[in-house]
């Protein structure tokens, strides 16, 4: 059962990722990305990372991807197939293949050792929501706080950048167009 589920999810993950790149229509690309994300969450579930699987489903599939779909639908990206003019065509595949090579090296070198075993020696409850919650409030309290501060800062930054869209009032003196100008 686990094996079957694994292969279904693995094929879905790889197939979804390939489809994102190959499909010319942005709308279908986003849908393929949804398939990829959902397959990943199944893989997480098989690794006993229940919290991660749920978070993946809710945050990515549920929120981020739906947002993408809305944007693509509203902006009308579906009418204009992605045009990759300007970037050398060979560059992306070369980078992708070299990345694949590096990761295969990493995983093949040490990850395959555990292939026949039941995986790492983990404590009971590792990766469970309660465990993660406890870690966030104890050992990773500081990173947790940094993350919340980061969100505040991102909001401030977004407000700052939004001023550009509001439009600027005309300069009070012509010299100001040089940035600082004379005062």
């Amino acid at each position: 059962m686990v094996q079957i589920l694994f292969f279904i999810a693995a094929i879905g993950a790889v197939g979804g990722a390939v489809a994102v790149v190959l499909l010319r229509n942005p709308f279908f690309s986003v849908l393929a990305l949804v398939v990829h994300m959902m397959s990943l969450s199944v893989l997480f579930l098989l690794l006993h990372a229940e919290f991660l699987a749920a978070a993946q489903l809710i945050v990515y599939v549920g929120a981020v991807m739906v947002l993408y779909l809305f944007v693509v639908s509203y902006v009308g990206g579906a009418d204009e197939p992605i045009d990759d003019a300007g970037v050398p065509r060979f560059l992306a595949p070369v980078l992708g293949v070299s990345l694949l090579f590096v990761f295969s090296l990493a995983v093949g070198g040490s990850g395959l050792k555990l292939l026949g075993t039941r995986g790492g020696d983990l404590a009971e409850g590792f990766g469970a929501p309660a465990d993660i919650g406890e870690l966030l409030l104890t050992r990773f309290l500081l990173p947790f706080e940094i993350a919340s501060y980061l969100l505040t800062v991102a909001a401030v930054g977004a407000v700052l950048l939004a001023r550009r869209r509001r439009g600027l009032e005309p300069l009070d003196e012509a010299a100001g167009s040089r940035g600082e100008g004379a005062r």
């Binding site: 590096v102 990773f140 940094i146 407000v159 700052l160 001023r163 167009s177 600082e180 005062r183």
Partner: protein
């Protein structure tokens, strides 16, 4: 209640972590100061806006700096909440960050774009970036490392795009965001692999684990370390990951360029020093040679790239790439002397880089732009700007009687004593090439005026109000003169900073357990 919970969960006894509020004080000051600045900027009135907000920011940075300075050399390398070590190595770099931010707060004070974009937001983001850097220099945990790296980066992305009048600024911010996100993603991959290979995120645990098992040949770990270094190299603009640097530096508002050109490098190097003392020490043989090759490529690419630049900001960007190469040598050597040289050179670099940027801002405000042309006749027109610029250029080139010379000598000495003599040779060659462009600036400053008159592009200056002489910006002159004076002071009497640098070196050795 018990019945509702699955068995096993109830026994989880959560003990609250001991948060050392006292030692954490500087971080609280910075985090609170950033928020306070935002609130102060809500107070109405032009005077309040023009004075109170910058003053709040400056006060915050001064307070943080004072705490850092007081805590320096206190024998208390405490680990805070398990993910921070505010030891002397971190404190020295923290003082660099906060001081650079202070100078930049002054440089940016009367900038017109600041009013449009909102003073509160600008200063708040500046302080937050400093907070991210101070956290990064203290981080002893991979999770804290990544999050403080982001806390440093995100304000800078926004600050780069903060000049609303110029499209170049938005382009700069966007470019930096995309490249920076790529760097973060690569680094995160690396961190995940390091965690996978060692089973822990804590620096000390990783070091213990690697010391016990001969994991040096573990490809997972090595690929992880490699990706981590690539991510950091992007941020520190180490060649061949430097391509974004000139464009971003040119497009960003000049005060922001001044800030990030010095501090992001310092933050990444502080982190590299800490990593090389702890978790990466057992696999030093694997990465030191890679970093050495990167350093020499960086020195050559930066110096050669700077030769042909007409925009001073682009030139300083390439020069910054080259300086990153020099500084990396200190990490590669990895001895106490290497770290001491790195710390000394870093301090001097901050001074001799902030000086020119203050002058460039002054020239931009006078309507002369940031080109090499804008420097012509400066010697006659505004000697108080011309002299600091000249001194800083000479210092950047590494000529004697300046701190830059002492710093380079220290780096070469560290390289030779650490059996990396060829890196020392690279530094010398790089400095020789760099004379080609630093002296061009000096020549432009002191060239006779008639050269400018025949210049076809002179009408660009026609709109400049002759009354808007640089003397109208005393705070810029103050920053430039102070930076130049300190650079010379460090060249003539380097002992006090040398002591501090040597102390940092000893701290580094002590870290290595």
């Amino acid at each position: 209640m018990t019945a509702l919970l699955p068995a096993g969960l109830i026994e989880v006894a959560v003990t609250a972590p001991s948060v050392e509020y006292g030692p954490m004080l500087p971080f609280f000051v910075l985090a609170g100061g950033a928020i306070l600045t935002l609130f102060v900027s809500l107070i109405g009135g032009d005077v309040a806006q023009r004075l109170l907000t910058p003053l709040t920011a400056v006060a915050t940075l001064l307070a943080a700096n004072a705490i850092f300075a007081i805590r320096l050399k206190e024998p208390d390398p405490s680990v805070l909440t398990g993910s921070l070590a505010l030891d002397d190595l971190a404190l020295i770099f923290d003082i660099i960050f906060a001081s650079a931010a202070l100078a930049v707060a002054v440089i940016a004070w009367r900038s017109k774009s600041l009013r449009e974009v909102g003073r509160g937001e600008f200063y708040s983001l500046l302080i937050t970036a400093v907070l991210g850097m101070t956290l990064l220099s203290s981080a002893t945990d991979l999770v804290a490392l990544f999050l403080s790296f982001e806390l440093l980066s995100i304000p800078l992305y926004v600050l780069c795009a903060s000049d609303l009048r110029r499209n170049g600024s938005l382009e700069s911010g966007l470019k930096y965001l995309i490249i920076g996100s790529l760097a973060s993603a690569v680094m995160l991959y690396g961190l995940a692999m390091i965690y996978g290979a060692t089973g822990d995120t804590n620096f000390y645990e990783i070091a213990d684990m690697l010391a016990k098992t001969p994991a040096a040949s573990d490809p997972l770990l090595l690929v992880g370390v490699g990706l981590l270094l690539v991510g950091l190299a992007f941020k520190a603009s180490v060649a061949p990951f430097h391509q974004w640097t000139p464009d971003v530096y040119e497009g960003a508002p000049t005060p922001v360029t001044a800030f990030m050109s010095v501090t992001t490098k310092a933050a990444v190097l502080a982190l590299l020093v800490r990593l090389s003392a702890g978790p990466l020490a057992p696999v030093r043989d694997n990465w030191a040679i890679v970093l050495a090759v990167l350093a020499s490529i960086t020195i050559v690419v930066g110096n050669v790239g700077a030769l042909r630049q007409e925009s001073l900001k682009r030139m300083l960007a390439y020069s910054g790439v080259a300086q990153a190469g020099y500084l990396l040598v200190g990490v590669v050597v990895g001895t106490g002397l290497g770290v001491a040289a790195l710390v000394f050179y870093m301090c001097v670099y901050v001074l001799m880089n902030l000086g020119p940027f203050a002058v460039i801002v002054a020239r931009e405000r006078a309507g002369a732009g940031d080109g090499l042309r804008g420097m012509r006749g400066l010697g006659r027109e505004a000697p108080l700007l011309a002299w600091p610029m000249t001194i800083c250029m000479i210092a950047l080139a590494g000529l004697p009687v300046t701190g830059g010379f002492i710093g380079k000598v220290l780096l070469v000495q560290a390289a030779v004593f650490g059996d990396w003599a060829w890196l020392g040779v690279m530094i010398v060659i790089g400095s020789a090439i760099s004379l080609g462009y630093y002296l061009r600036v000096v020549a432009a400053i002191w060239m006779p005026e008639h050269e400018t008159a025949s210049d076809p592009s002179a009408p660009v200056l026609a709109g400049a109000d002759p009354a808007a002489d640089p003397g109208a910006h005393p705070e810029l002159i103050a920053v430039a003169v102070a930076a130049a004076a300190l650079t010379v002071a460090l060249g003539v009497y380097p002992e006090w900073l040398l002591d501090l640098a040597r102390y940092a070196g000893e701290t580094f050795i002590a870290l290595g357990v």
